[in-house]
């Protein structure tokens, strides 16, 4: 991306919100918009890093009986569909799910389903050493998160087990749309840049092209979750059809793709 002089846009959606058919339709729409990577959140009953918007989307999916193996099956058939080329997929998944599913089984099936990496938000650097070896064996990247509260010595240890990119959390807190990004984020990104050659992607709180402008030249990419996921609530409100919601998400994604070029 940097060779093109633009940042990478990585939208986040929740798998199975409100059903897997919609997930497939949204994935195709985002792929058509040319997004650089898609994060797929695995619904979890007890998320603690996520704000209310993402939590509600998990609840919608789980109320509709979301199951991990069904997501893998759907993605597998989508990747064999010659008419659609998806960008790289990264799963955002709680370790509670991975452990219960069976780590090796989960990793192998995720890889076969077309995932190229995983973000495991409740598996911090210290606990991730053994797991990062397993992800390598399954040919998956393990993206690590760094918070503004992470001290430098911890950051050094964390980046050693990371691959793919570094997920830079913009603020101490949970996911969710915020008006402004914190001023100290720039300093944080500069110091991170000294510690790793991996691309830096910023997440939590980003929703507008102006946010992207403030990150330009400092980060390599950005992640948007809640601003997209909140649009899925329209399904349960029944005030919009699926086509309308997907079209609205497509318009938003195109706007943010334009913002990547400045």
């Amino acid at each position: 991306m940097s060779s093109e002089g633009r940042m990478a846009f990585m939208p986040f959606i929740t798998a199975g919100d409100p059903d897997l058919d919609t997930t497939v339709a949204v994935l195709k729409e985002l792929a058509n918009c040319g997004v650089d990577l898609i994060e797929i959140g695995f619904p979890y009953s007890d998320p603690i890093a996520d704000g209310p918007v993402i939590q509600e989307s998990y609840t919608r999916a789980l109320n509709n009986h979301f199951q991990v193996h069904e997501l893998f099956d759907v993605l597998k058939s989508l990747s064999s569909d010659q008419t659609t080329t998806l960008p790289p997929l990264v799963g955002m998944v709680s370790y509670a799910i991975i452990f219960r599913y069976g780590a090796e089984k989960f990793l192998n099936e995720a890889s076969a389903a077309g995932f190229s990496g995983l973000i495991v938000p409740d598996l911090p650097g210290d606990e991730a050493l053994e797991f990062s070896q397993k992800t390598q064996l399954a040919n998956l990247d393990l993206v690590q998160l760094v918070s503004p509260l992470t001290p430098e010595d911890r950051t050094k240890r964390i980046v050693q087990t990371a691959s793919g990119f570094i997920y830079c959390i913009s603020v101490a807190g949970t996911t969710g749309v915020r008006d402004e990004l914190p001023a100290e984020l720039t300093t944080h990104l500069e110091s991170l840049r000294q510690l790793t050659d991996l691309p830096l992607a910023v997440g939590f709180g980003i929703s507008k092209p102006e946010h992207v402008d403030t990150l330009r030249g400092k980060a390599d990419g950005f992640i948007i979750g809640s601003a997209i996921v909140k649009q899925f609530a329209a399904f349960s409100d029944s005030n919009q059809t699926r086509a309308e919601v997907i079209s609205s998400i497509g318009n938003y994604a195109s706007e943010m793709m334009s913002a990547t070029r400045g």
Partner: protein
């Protein structure tokens, strides 16, 4: 039974394979700081002496070990004793922990405290400790528990705490923990989270156990003094597991003492009908630590049910998971109806109205006592008094107050 040592957890918070820290990176630094501060406080004589002074003059410790003569006769068999945590200030064991953690909050220079509560006893104990030290206190509580525990909600507010209703999920304890953790994520630099049980990421399970161990230490000494020997059996109820961890831990290396944890058997063994994590759960991750969890095959936490708002939690402390797998502690379940019967029998035979949580332990002790020799001593942790539960019990018995 595998050999078990009381010298757990290790530096990374492992009780065997259980425990550790499964939390977002944002919380890691605070947990490391808390661990260091707690280790320093443990070695600090002035901290220990201030804590002991408060436990004595404010909480009212040591509380009695009481021989329940009439209940013993009623059951026939072993002698039943109660460790009277119900006589503590606020009427439950929870204050042993909140006073300790409030002192730590002061040491860390933080002014704001958050807590989660199910039955409300931990919320009240947190509000009390915060009022005592002038700390701001926010208590997260599920909407369903607010309905069940109006008295405690009123008490918390009286003492200046803000009670925040949690409307997500099952609107009970587990959802309150989720919301408290979220608050902590965004306020960790100024706020201490007083977790109310031996759950959560390291160092909480160890720290809460240590603060609650005063129960078992006193019981051990009182038993030796009053009966001339260690108890034969020690029984305590288990939700998250704090009164039982505090009761059992000082007896862990005494292999002659049989330890029994009693979970909420609810309406029966079907998923969603009980809260018996150790009896029916599987290994997994919940609320920052690895232990037994009631979950489905995808790792989604299952809904739970108990007559007791204090026990309906789908996880359990990692040290209990360790004790279960080692065989050192036996875990069993008591149904809602059995607990109600224990509640009523205790009130009529001993003139003590127990918490519904404790009534689970009482109901099991009555079963055990019937099978025991009259020379055997059975000690039950009476973890709290039942004032908070009388409205709910009356409703279940079809009576009006």
């Amino acid at each position: 039974m595998t050999t078990i040592l009381s010298d757990v957890p290790d530096a990374s918070g492992r009780f065997g394979e259980f425990g550790r820290r499964f939390v977002p990176e944002t919380l890691m630094h605070a947990l490391e700081e808390l661990t260091q501060e707690y280790e320093k406080a443990k070695q600090d004589e002035s901290f220990q002496s201030e804590l002991n002074d408060l436990l004595k003059h404010y909480v009212g410790r040591p509380n009695p070990l009481y021989f329940a003569e009439r209940l013993t006769k009623h059951c026939g068999g072993g002698k039943i004793y109660f460790k009277r945590e119900d006589l503590n200030h606020t009427g439950a064991h929870k204050i042993n922990n909140t006073i300790g953690q409030a002192l730590l909050t002061m040491r860390m220079g933080k002014k704001r405290v958050i807590a989660e509560t199910g039955a409300g006893q931990h919320g009240v104990a947190s509000a009390v400790a915060c009022a005592r030290f002038g700390l701001e206190c926010i208590v997260y509580m599920g909407e369903e528990d607010i309905r069940r525990q109006k008295l405690n909600v009123f008490n918390m507010k009286m003492m200046g705490a803000e009670v925040r209703a949690v409307t997500s999920g099952s609107k009970t304890l587990r959802d309150a923990v989720n919301d408290a953790m979220r608050d902590w994520m965004s306020s960790v630099e100024s706020t201490h989270y007083i977790i109310g049980s031996v759950i959560g990421p390291h160092p909480f399970p160890m720290m809460v156990r240590d603060f609650q161990s005063v129960i078992g230490k006193e019981t051990r000494a009182q038993c030796l003094e009053q009966t001339g020997k260690l108890p034969d059996q020690v029984i305590a109820c288990v939700g998250g597991g704090s009164n039982s961890a505090g009761m059992f831990y000082p007896f862990i290396d005494d292999e002659s003492v049989k330890l029994i944890g009693v979970e909420a058997g609810g309406r029966g063994p079907e998923p969603g009908e009980h809260a018996s994590t150790l009896s029916y759960g599987a290994k997994g991750v919940l609320h920052g630590s690895f232990g037994y969890v009631l979950q489905d095959s995808d790792g989604q936490t299952q809904d739970v049910h108990s007559i007791s708002a204090g026990l309906d939690y789908p996880g359990v402390g990692p040290e209990h998971s360790y004790w279960k797998d080692s065989g050192r502690v036996n875990y069993t379940a008591i149904t809602d109806n059995e607990a109600l019967e224990g509640f009523q029998t205790m009130a009529k035979q001993e003139g003590i109205i127990p918490a519904i949580e404790s009534s689970h332990a009482i109901a099991h002790a009555m079963k055990v006592a019937r099978e025991a020799h009259p020379d055997e001593t059975i000690v039950v942790c009476l973890s709290g008094r039942g004032d908070k539960d009388v409205n709910e019990v009356a409703r279940l018995l079809g009576q009006e107050i």
